[in-house]
């Protein structure tokens, strides 16, 4: 196991280098070059000024040297300075991180609880009304554009019913924990919807898949209660593949957060990315892309390792 984990971690090194090359290349391909946005467009700028700008940013160096410098700095935790705010990119990201983590974590926990409950129910009571409704809603959840779902919920719960705030994280002048949680409900729900749909369907078919397994017959034969047979033996085994899928989907949450945060004006990394895109703030965009890819790699690794930890039948040579 130890050697396997070490080898898997080593395998991610070329992957990270590949990603850094792509991210660097994409920013280099920006129209007008990465420094173009600083100079603005459509007005005359003294060539001398351009030269000094380029020198200050280091973009007058050959591209391979720029890449090595950038990567070296990134490895030591320096992602450069934001064009728009002239503040270190790392600080901007760290400032926005708690909001994104809060949103992602609450939507993850919510999705896990609802999906597991719904999945178990649907598998045990196949083709009952609730199972059929859950299947239908799952199909809707997967086919619905995230932002549109957000807009419709805003329309119903905020505008028409006035139950929940439209957007933001707190009501100005009325800051309290309850107020903050009220602001969290809609975005977290929107972000979790797709996962509730996917995970509950997965658990349902996974449970139906193990329902004929020999170990369940054994468990019943040795006189365990049905509650224990289902709750421990069946669900326990059906959950193993789901846990890996959940870990993989954490990475997708990052893409979902970009849209959800924009719809609900939630001040996290996703919104920072969209704002930086409009401001053509390339160091920030590079930093977030790099960080996002890194998160994906870490959770893929976790998914692999967890699979081995949870299922003792899996042996790594």
């Amino acid at each position: 196991m130890g050697t396997y984990v070490r080898r898997r971690i080593l395998q991610t090194v070329p992957l990270i280098i590949g990603i850094s090359l792509v991210v660097f290349g994409i920013i280099q391909a920006a129209p007008g070059g990465p420094e173009g946005s600083l100079l603005g467009t459509g007005r005359f700028v003294d060539p001398q000024v351009i030269l000094s700008y380029r020198h200050r940013l280091g973009v007058d160096q050959p591209i391979p040297i720029q890449y090595v410098r950038w990567l070296g700095a990134a490895v030591s935790g320096d992602l450069g300075v934001s064009f728009a705010t002239t503040r270190p990119v790392v600080n901007l990201i760290v400032e926005r991180l708690p909001a994104t983590l809060e949103l992602m974590a609450s939507s993850f926990v919510f999705a896990a609880i609802i999906a597991i409950a719904l999945g178990i129910y649907s598998a045990l009571r196949q083709y009952t009304t609730l199972d059929v409704v859950a299947t239908g809603v799952s199909f809707l959840g997967i086919a619905m554009p995230v932002f549109w779902f957000g807009l419709i919920l805003q329309l119903v719960f905020s505008v028409k019913l006035g139950l929940l705030p439209v957007a933001g994280t707190e009501t100005v002048g009325a800051t309290s924990l309850a107020d903050h949680l009220k602001h969290l409900i809609l975005p977290a729900f929107v972000l979790s919807f797709r996962n509730v749909a996917g995970w509950s369907r997965y658990l349902r078919s996974s449970l139906i898949g193990v329902s004929a397994a020999d170990y369940l017959r054994t468990a019943r034969a040795k006189g365990l209660t049905e509650r224990r047979v289902i709750g421990v033996h069946a669900v326990g085994n059906a959950l193993i593949p789901l846990v890996s899928i959940m870990a993989l989907n954490v990475a997708d949450l990052f893409s979902g957060a970009v849209i959800t945060e924009t719809v609900f004006a939630w001040p996290g990394i996703g919104r920072l990315f969209v704002q930086a895109m409009f401001a053509r703030d390339y160091p920030v965009l590079m930093g977030i892309l790099l960080m996002g890819s890194f998160t994906v790699i870490v959770f893929n690794l976790l998914a692999d390792i967890m699979y081995g930890v949870l299922d003792p039948r899996i042996r790594y040579e």
Binding site: L15, I19, A143, L155, V258, R280, L285, G292, S293, V296
Partner: protein, 288 residues
Amino acid sequence: MSEAAPGSTANIWRGLRKHRIALLSLVILVGMIAACFAAPLVAPYAFDAIDLASLRHSPTFTHWMGTDELGRDVWTRMLYGGRVSILIGLLAALVGTGLGTLIGSVAGFYGRWVDNALMRVTDVAYAIPTLPLLILLSSYSGAAVFSMVVIIGGLSWMATARVVRSEVLSIKEMAYVVAARGMGATNWTLVVRHIIPNAMGPLLVGATLGVGNAIMIESSLSFLGLGVQPPTPTWGNMLMDSQATMASKPWLTIFPGLAILVVVLAINFLGDGLRDALDPRATSPVRR
């Protein structure tokens, strides 16, 4: 049991006919596509015709989906918008599937370092979060239909490449492929005659779901103001325009989103039906 190969048209059709929802979805899709592509014939107005007498009017008999902020008929714009959205979806799925087939077969046939290099590239493409990357690239390119197709298609080939590669690996040592090669078949012939028909199931399902996915991505990008630009309507940019007046003019938000929902839902059902129809294992009663 029929003699036809699992990927043959006759077999796909037979399987699909059993799958009622998939068949219904196909009918809905064909209807919507036909209506959208015949928009100039079907639509009651021109897509940029302005009716100053009824700005932002709620649905009436003359404008049964209402009018937008410039007095343009929403139903007309839905048809024209659908044309662009569906076109982008179809072409992007085509580009993604084609690219994936190409990369997968090259990796599978040439093996060794070519395979290794291409699969590492695939890993890298998988690891970078897709939506932020798409946002960045479309902010560069300006938003023509062509560039949307290239960007979305260019970032959705990875799954196809893996499927095609494993298909190539599993059949390239088989006797009939070796025999075909001995008779002078080129790699290209092998791909077209043997690999693609064998991988038809996953390819077709992947391409179908890819259309829905591309439509969703286009609408998300349009929502951020990065998609196809007005006055050309798409479902995505109609939604973006509607956001500011959502509270007072909800029909401007509801209809385009509903159109995306229906199309993607129908595509997903069709994909499911195709998967069942094409999977040889699904012909035996696996479900009790």
